[in-house]
Amino acid sequence: MTDEPLKTTPLNAAHRAAGARMVGFGGYDMPVQYEGVLAEHRWTREHAGLFDVSHMGQCKITGEDAVAQFERFVPGDYAILKAGKQKYSLLLNAEGGIMDDLMAGKPDHDGLYVVVNAGNKDADFAFLKANLQGDATLTVLDDRSLIAIQGPEAAEVMAAHEPVMAEFGFMDCARLMLFGVDCFVSRSGYTGEDGYEISVPNADAERIWNALLQDARVKPIGLGARDSLRLEAGLPLHGHDIDATTSPVEGALTFALSKSRKERADFNGAARILKELSDGPSRVRIGLSVKEGAPAREGAEIADMDGAVIGNVTSGGPSPTLGRNIAMGYVPPAFAELGTDLKVIVRGKPAAAEVVAMPFVAQRYYRKPKAV
């Protein structure tokens, strides 16, 4: 990291006024916790947590060629994605490595709205600007903040402000007037809970943040709990659980590979990815239940029962919901079967671990009842 001063989001003063402990993350001065990571984690699982994720990168890609050009670098089928829908995808390099993971959708009838990770956004936007051809044009939306509300009470809270929000299903998105201003909104998130991400004009961010916090069901949640929540939900964190060397197959993200795109094999890195799909990858991301001892964190070695090191933990820690330690990491596929007994080595001490399914904690996304 450089010594450049940290950037701030439009909600920085609100975080400080609320007594948040601030840390540098992705180049931004961000709240890591308000009252405490465990309390915030549990509040989000039981009520509604409010997250400032304005450090993330937002952009529009517009023009007649927007979708076709974007698809060159992602393995999802955005051509057939309906208006009002969004889809998780991966920005791939020529070797099939994951440069970033992202959400891209069609909230309006004007190309794609894309959200990328804070730490990668400058590189992502530079890469796309340099590589998008034809009339595809990328516009960075740095005049916008991003607020997430997550938890089982998030939908009721939002409906109290804007009844239209209740009509959204998981992964629906739209551009509409909320709180009197032009917003992009989606029913999605990074906690495994039901909830929304709302892109608002910077000038209105603090007003909307404070309006949502007026509801007794809502508390502000820092990045500490955001990390433990996403870990329980089995969601990878780019730069830790996936990076430019890992493929979607290795990263256990093959759901992001659309059938039509695999058939056409017309995206960056398709050769490697299709080969891994047919022959198997050399390593794969797994979930681990750590059965004893200390939390196994990023960098801890994973060993087989004979003590041979076979991989590494990429993130891990206590699961407040489960009351035990969980981790994700990479091992060769021969060790990836559910129920496989392994060891994690923390400060030189091997501890028993078992390969378990992810998510560790069941996701509770809102699926709309099917129309009759």
Partner: protein
Amino acid sequence: MHFTKDHEWVRLDGDVATVGISKHAADALGDVVFVETPEAGKVVSKGDGFAVVESVKAASDVYAPVSGEVIEGNAALASAPETVNADPEGEGWFAKIRVSDASTEGLMDRAAYDAFLATL
């Protein structure tokens, strides 16, 4: 009670030092979820990492504020690590160490430690 700049505390009773981490350190760590205390018989030198305390987010070394031989680690913290937050300078002690030199030289008393915290 005396303190180090790394936020450990020491309470000397004859040649036995009870050691732990300060309230300031416990508050800064946040929710403590795991503590690894040393076993009896371990010989530690002042400044050595002799215990580990883990919050939800990270693991931190705890440095020995004195030199000597560990006579007891606080086994109760294994099942109740939250004691470190609840009572860091009492029930949340980490270890008892038989010191080789029962002096508090180089350590801060409470007033000096408070003054030190004010500079942080």
